[in-house]
């Protein structure tokens, strides 16, 4: 039975644009997030993908209470946590932790690694008795694959991948149930990215974690996610199980996004049909009417400018059960296969398989 751990309902974040020096008056708003709904089930990974400025990071920050939503609800185990403050908020925070994108700015350069990972216990003294903390910090270092002896080192003595492991250890310290990871590997080198992804996957199993995994890289999201939501200009435009999105996308934006991903195989490319979008993402201060994607969409018609498409199973698929019948906010949804079918695996040479973090 699936149990929802986080439910997000109609989440909105508008940043007011103001003018004036001392007495500010509002002249508009950046609609960073503009009506987002999703559910995160226990033990699963929900991937949220989109290009820069689509609002995915703002969603992440609202989930961990770094930003207050302009409207909408965030429920944790059925209870609304949006307006919490003080002690109640602190208790919820223990259960929802975050891993940040940039391993260079997410660790305080003036603190030792032991202090950084141990800080959660100082803020939540009930989580671990004082005498036990150092041992716990060392255990955490061990869990994320770093040498426990290095508790007294400073962050600048570590490389990017190692710092990201330290950030993950800090996120794990309070044994949260949910981890919100905001582009956790996009600042890392390719060879180190894989180590960190594998680590996250292992920790999910060992600690029974649920992840909200935010990324712009569709291939990484596919690798780690059970379900995926594709965001465009503050909204989720298509959401479904992993194979529904990757193998049976019905929203033109998802299709374009998938087809634009460079595939490291010159031959596979030749069979691929590529959709190259024209133009740029419109500014979130001035969102197009109707469907937000219409200004770049090759299918756009008059209806798209007038009517906002709802995120639901499109009418054409409603009576045809199958992977194409998933939520997609498009008036003219149709299934197009963009990613070539999976090739039979088995090419991986045995002599190279011993790696992994």
């Amino acid at each position: 039975m699936v149990e929802a751990i986080i439910e997000v309902d109609g989440l909105v974040k508008h940043y007011p644009l103001t003018q004036g020096v001392l007495f500010k008056k509002q002249v508009g708003a950046v609609k960073a997030v503009d009506g987002v709904d999703f559910v995160l089930n226990k033990g699963e990974t929900l991937g949220i993908v989109g290009e820069s400025g689509c609002g995915k990071s703002t969603v992440a920050r609202m989930l961990v209470h770094l930003e207050r939503p302009t409207a909408g609800l965030i429920k944790y185990k059925g209870e609304d946590i949006t307006g919490l403050s003080g002690r109640a908020l602190k208790a919820v925070r223990r259960n929802i932790q975050m891993v940040f994108q940039d391993p260079y700015t997410s660790l305080n350069p003036r603190m030792t690694v032991g202090d950084i990972i141990g800080e959660p216990y100082e803020i939540h003294p009930e989580a671990a008795p004082r005498g036990d903390r150092r041992r716990r910090v060392q255990d955490l270092l061990d869990v994320v694959g770093l040498n426990p002896e290095y508790v007294n080192r400073y962050p600048h003595q570590f490389s990017g991948g190692q710092r990201q492991r330290i950030g993950i250890a800090r996120g794990l310290a309070l044994r949260p149930e949910v981890i919100v990871a905001d582009e956790p590997v996009s600042a890392l080198d390719v060879s180190v990215q894989a180590q960190v992804i594998n680590l996250l996957a292992r920790l999910q199993k060992d600690f029974d974690l649920s992840y909200v995994f935010i990324a712009h890289d569709l291939s990484i999201v596919r690798h780690i996610s059970d379900r995926v939501g594709v965001m465009y200009l503050g909204r989720i435009v298509e959401t479904g199980r992993d194979e529904e999105i990757y193998d049976h996308p019905t929203h033109p934006y998802t299709q374009a996004l998938l087809s634009a991903v460079p595939v490291p195989d010159p031959e596979a490319r030749e069979h691929r049909e590529r959709i190259i979008l024209s133009g740029d993402v419109p500014s979130p201060t001035n969102v197009p009417s109707g469907c937000r994607f219409r200004t770049r969409c090759w299918k756009a018609r008059e209806r798209c400018a007038l009517e906002v498409p709802l995120l639901a199973v499109p009418a054409v698929f409603r009576h045809v059960p199958g992977p194409a019948a998933h939520d997609s906010a498009c008036h003219f949804a149709e299934e197009t296969r963009v990613v070539p079918p999976e090739e039979p695996a088995g090419e991986a040479p045995d002599d190279l398989d011993e790696g992994g973090a």
């Binding site: 020096v21 001392l22 920050r61 961990v64 209470h65 770094l66 908020l89 602190k90 925070r93 223990r94 932790q97 975050m98 940040f100 994108q101 940039d102 260079y104 700015t105 997410s106 660790l107 305080n108 350069p109 003036r110 603190m111 030792t112 950084i116 800080e119 959660p120 803020i123 939540h124 694959g145 770093l146 040498n147 002896e149 290095y150 007294n152 080192r153 400073y154 962050p155 600048h156 003595q157 570590f158 490389s159 990017g160 991948g161 190692q162 950030g167 800090r170 309070l174 996009s186 600042a187 890392l188 080198d189 390719v190 990215q193």
Partner: protein, 326 residues
Amino acid sequence: MPEQPFEPGRAIAGTGAGGAMDLATTEAETLERSPGGPLGTGPADRPRSLWSDAWRDLRRNPVFVVSALVILFLVVISLWPSLIASGSPLQCDLAKAQEGSQPGAPFGYDGQGCNVYTRTVYGARTSVTVGVCATLGVALLGSVLGGLAGFFGGFWDSILSRITDVFFAIPVVLGGLVLLSVVTSNTVWPVIGFMVLLGWPQISRIARGSVITAKQNDYVQAARALGASHSRILLRHIAPNAVAPVIVVATIALGTFIALEATLSYLGVGLKPPSVSWGIDISAASPYIRNAPHALLWPSGALALTVLAFIMLGDAVRDALDPKLR
């Protein structure tokens, strides 16, 4: 930003906060637990904080060493002037007026027949007291106000910014002439008070800026996401990362406060005789510049050297702490 381009600028800094990825990482790099086990056992193996790195840089910097020695000497003689000067700076003998260098008075005598050497040595106390106290006051007031404004932002931040703008518009010397001329007390305190009053906006602006910069770092967000209190975030995460520019500016300001005290005393609104101050001495010696240049030379030389020492110290500290180089 999946790629950090190779940046030679960072490479020089060696063990920096930001760019420690490529060259800068030392043997710690290999501590990733590969099947080979940790290899980091070299001298670079010990933990190194950014402060200790800065200190290591400073010790190797000749500019720092020289200026620190000068300042140390000044501090010692202002605490115990009798160590190197006998007699009282107020003991003057008009009969010896304008006499040159002689035993017991290596710098000669000034127009009033006072021993220039003794007065110069005793003058250090005034300068150091004014410099240190004014700087402490300015740094405390400025960094607390600026830091809080930068951290909380909003209405009070706007108010504070406008107030600092107003203070920046006040010409310092003119302000001193006006404000201090009504003061009757002949101690260093009104002068210090005036300097704090006019000096804090500069520090407050620096502190505000560096707090705002530090505040945007993800580690502050991480602490907030953990539920850390405002005071914890400010004291533990922001202050240690925002304090460097304040230290640098305050060190340099110390030198300028000493110069300002001399200026005000020269103009007759700072300290007045019988207090001992380089400014007073310079003022008193200037009418006799043709006959007794030594009486002007020594106190002004001491003043220039002191100011220079503090400015050089500030520069050296900036080089050691500059986050752009690390």
